[in-house]
Symmetry: C2
Amino acid sequence: MPSTELPQQTSARRIDRPVPLRERVYQAMQELIISRQLAPGQHLVESELAEMLGVSRQPIREALQLLNSEGWVDLRPGYGAFVHAPTDAEVDQLLAVRAVLEGESARLAALNADADGIARLRKLCAEGEAALASDDVDGMVAANAELHRCVTELSGNRVLLDFVSQVDRRVRWYYTPIARNRGARSWEEHGRLVDAIERGDAETAAQIMREHTERTRHSYLEQRAENPEPDEQPAQVRTRRRRAAPRV
Amino acid sequence: MPSTELPQQTSARRIDRPVPLRERVYQAMQELIISRQLAPGQHLVESELAEMLGVSRQPIREALQLLNSEGWVDLRPGYGAFVHAPTDAEVDQLLAVRAVLEGESARLAALNADADGIARLRKLCAEGEAALASDDVDGMVAANAELHRCVTELSGNRVLLDFVSQVDRRVRWYYTPIARNRGARSWEEHGRLVDAIERGDAETAAQIMREHTERTRHSYLEQRAENPEPDEQPAQVRTRRRRAAPRV
DNA sequence: ATACAGTATTCTGTATGCAGAAGTCGAGGT
DNA sequence: ACCTCGACTTCTGCATACAGAATACTGTAT
């Protein structure tokens, strides 16, 4: 098994305290899942992860708890942890939830945003369009995520922000590998969204955001239909653990 | 410290497997928090919990992870776990989120509910009204929770159900100790809600549910204003751990 | 060759042990 | 009386150890 580095303790926390291993493990594993190095359905053996990341099983277990509660892995008591394998229905439902939550975010943002907030939105829009113009896919994805996050922040509802962040990360995991090509249309919508927020037109903002997310949803499902997960036996749930290396 | 029983392993799981200690600890601690035996802001010392529940620290830690991710306790790395002390603003925001999510539940339920589902809703309405008539507060609270849950189930969106369940439990924790007296009005609203769902009138159902939750929110804030948490120093965040029993 | 039973091994769940950080108490100085 | 410094205690975070359950392998009988 390839040994993987834990993220270095980059940015200091509020107070200067060493980031616990369990959090770094959590981060690292989330990356591994998003990047598909840990494939959906795969059985995660604690001791292997421990060796791979150079820590003991305890922080691994604690990280798995967290990943489980956020829907990244499934914990089956007595059987172990498995990378969550979302069904199409689940992705669809998750996007529906996101549409509602982000619609509400936009509505509240329109009611609460100040000039400074609007400026931040404009800046992100500009960045996104620049990325689009120069065909910088990663830049677009990043600007897109930032914009959505910013809108939610401007809603002034911290609880909402927590929920949306959680949903967003999962959606991005499901979504990223396929549909990256609705660029131009998407940024035009974003522009209209910011306009509505600036006018304080809450209902229009909410509407635009909901429809925006709904379109994401439909384009996801279409692409998914044409293009089922390449290296995945559809609908096969792996229940067996694979055998470890045979003895000599 | 009083020793507390872990819940007996009552109902069998899908497969007949012993429920892990961590889950029973999770359940037990959630109960202790809801019942205020563990007070908001209180520092939760792992070893004390372990002794109290008759297990080692490991399952305690894992349960704390879960409780943290659902907002019941705050985990401050290096400092320990504290029972979450929600601010008024947070409760308000959480109720706002619930209004949106349950509004969507109602909308989808109106589109998807079958005759059987409607019957279940009617039954719960009847139970609630019966409880109201006989002044059975606990019965009313239970029927109310069941009704809301049932609506969300009928939405057919499982992801939504997960989110709503989570939000609901937290709301009930915040809310239960105070406002229990909007009975009659509340059940009348429920009746109209079920009517709308039965008609398949999605927008009206959503509207009623949103307004219903909004009223809950306002009544919460009113009561809270008149009646701040009795045995709690307002706005005082406990950062110090209390000293353990002095040695002999 | 297939089915079955028994054995070996892996893996999870839980407990225990240990080092270092955080907090507390008390003595001494101002 | 109040502040400061230092030793002591407690607590968290992590590692290791152990028991039991579940799985995979192997040999034998049919």
